[in-house]
Subunit: 392 residues, 2 copies
């Protein structure tokens, strides 16, 4: 064969291989599983319940979270060590990466998809990046008080109108940054909201930002449609209460389930899931469960609420039937269940069992096990339907 021929055949081979890879990957059907111990993520196909590959070298992924570009082709991985990685989940490679702080806890993507913001502990504040290039566009240092210290930033979420909302743990403040002009953020500050906000969520419609308080019982609510009303306290009894039970793990607020007229919340330190009226934010019931709840997640149709638990009772997942508020199932996916993710319409759920190095997929109607996927110390599972959701 001549040299030209050889080049021709080499091209054929590599191009066909690349093409097969691309053609089989509809972005609406993909997902990413965080493998925390190895600094890698696994790429998966939801419908096929199959692993597609792995991307390495993403740094410290303990407590890592992920948001997606609007087209769901790119995932932004927020590492614990300040690393921000943009990965192409179709071509399966890292396309940009920056270690933008010393210590971080999560991030968010703007409603228009053009901006990615990271919440930083050290140095405290948020940084805002161009979603295409990861170029740094602006920074909001979390400076507070007379000494000019910077607070740890937690509970960042995107809100309608290219805004980001976040909490300042050490400063007892909530800030709303409007990034309409991405290089000149306009910041509105809410002071003395309650002691040590430690995590937060925004409701699925982007309407209410709710922060949990580490330093006292109760929650703080901010109406994103009416900032002039200011932050107000809700659920004053929510917390460890007078008994001060040992709390093995503060529950994740982001998992909160909004189902019909009710919100389902993990009780702190107690073996209960709390049921709260969404209009009055008053507790109306408590469902006894087998451990301290961590994630309390509604199936997308709101018919069921799935619960996982803190150490040492973390090998069980329980399912609450919403109309009757009864437990209808207890599953044993494996040791150390860390996270759960529903498919978009809720017919299936994927559950990560860290110490068994596997992810288990169940049908949510009949609770059969449908598949097991090997994974290295899996924690968070993030499906691409998040690209379509406010606050995720």
């Amino acid at each position: 064969m001549t040299r030209v021929e050889l080049i021709g055949f080499a091209l054929v081979a590599s191009t066909i291989a690349g093409c097969a890879t691309v053609a089989s990957r509809e972005t609406a059907d993909l997902g990413v599983i965080v493998e925390r111990a190895t600094g890698s993520v696994q790429l998966v196909n939801q419908t096929k319940r199959a692993s597609l590959g792995r991307i390495q070298g993403l740094g410290d992924l303990s407590h890592a979270s992920i948001v997606y570009s609007h087209d769901a082709r790119y995932a932004y991985v927020f590492g614990r060590d300040g690393g921000l990685s943009k990965i192409d989940i179709v071509a399966q490679r890292t396309v940009a990466r920056t270690v933008q702080a010393g210590n971080s806890i999560g991030g968010a993507i703007s409603r228009d998809g053009h901006l990615v913001a990271v919440a930083n502990y050290q140095p405290g504040g948020i940084k805002v990046f161009d979603a295409d290039t990861l170029e740094l566009l602006s920074e909001v240092p979390s400076t507070y008080g007379v000494e000019g210290k910077r607070a740890k930033v937690v509970g960042i979420a995107d809100a309608p109108g290219n805004r980001f909302v976040f909490s300042l743990f050490d400063a007892d403040e909530i800030w709303v940054a409007d990034l309409t002009d991405a290089r000149h953020p306009a910041v509105r500050k809410f002071r003395d909201v309650g002691r040590q906000p430690y995590d937060a969520l925004i409701t699925p419609d982007g309407r209410y930002y709710i922060a949990g308080l580490f330093g006292e019982d109760g929650l703080v609510l901010l109406d994103m449609q009416n900032l002039d009303a200011g932050a107000r306290r809700i659920l004053d009894g929510y917390g460890r209460g007078s008994e001060k039970l040992p709390v093995y793990k503060m529950p994740h607020l982001r998992g909160w389930a909004m189902a019909g007229d009710y919100a389902f919340l993990p009780a702190i330190g107690r073996y209960e899931v709390l049921v709260v009226d969404r209009r009055t934010w008053k507790q109306v019931a408590a469902v006894p469960v087998q451990g301290q709840p961590v994630f309390v997640m509604a199936r997308p149709d709101g018919r069921q609420v799935w619960v996982n638990f803190a150490f040492p009772r973390n090998g069980v997942v329980q399912v609450i039937d919403v109309p009757t508020l009864k437990l209808v199932e207890s599953l044993h996916p494996g040791k150390t269940v860390l996270h759960m993710e529903f498919t978009a319409r809720g017919d299936e759920i994927w559950i990560s069992a860290r110490d068994d190095d596997r992810v288990v997929v169940y049908n949510t109607e009949r609770f059969q096990k449908l598949a097991e996927l090997p994974a290295k110390s899996p924690s968070g599972i993030f499906f691409t339907w998040r690209a379509q959701k406010i606050g995720l």
Copy 2:
């Protein structure tokens, strides 16, 4: 060159071309615009606000609607003439097509993505197809009464648990078909629900199925989590009322806006949008608008409600601010506005102006026109985020 070489190069060329096509089309970011006059659909990219191509030969597409496969690669097009077409929106071709009835009105896809159901006028009933192959799996004839006539089927929607729910116009009935065994549907019938149900919706969580009545004022509600409660009447005053105003077009129920604690409904025959409490289903307000509303659609964050109108006042789109219930904008996208579709997070909206042969894209915060796309008599616009939604 030898023959082998030529084959090599031909393969390279075709493979690279194919690859480029596929690689640029993330399914999470696509959409389909129905071109009713020409029996074609236009494929678009949301982020690029660009046309990608056109698929022809889909029959009579007046009042056509579309659902997506879970991976959003395939769109199922329900034509008015009983045609059911499965199109591949990445490869841009029709992969299966069947003319399965003489006259049809819409369809739905099951929660697990494996079944597609079509609602038929003639012969009346639903047919259920394999979503992969369009093989007919089962049929539910809408036979009613003592004479064994078949009713026109309207308002079909998918419900949790691989069920389809639909209404029988001539029979005053609502049926729920459980397709857990796809070849043996289990049907539950609700009789005497009200005169002539003509269209219906299911709430975004799949909880409530609500049908409008053509033969009398009022609506019918079925709680999909508690079928034993039976169908019940709500909003008894909803309809043309005692004045019997001329109604140029019965409003589409599927457009109903669920925003926060309220549902926004098009008044029938009157220049008003009705505001209804979602818990009590009582009317609490009415917002005056410039014509007879047809589609009343909430921006995904519930902050705004967008309204289009019936002939002859159908060249205007109005925007209601939800917290104040005031009109904040009137837009003129072109003559004969037929449909509107938000992007998933609601930062933009696409509006079809049939008689100007164009689709106009607006920013929803500042109401600037962002783009115009030529289209042939465009009607419905369907973005692929629908693949992730119950009832769409």
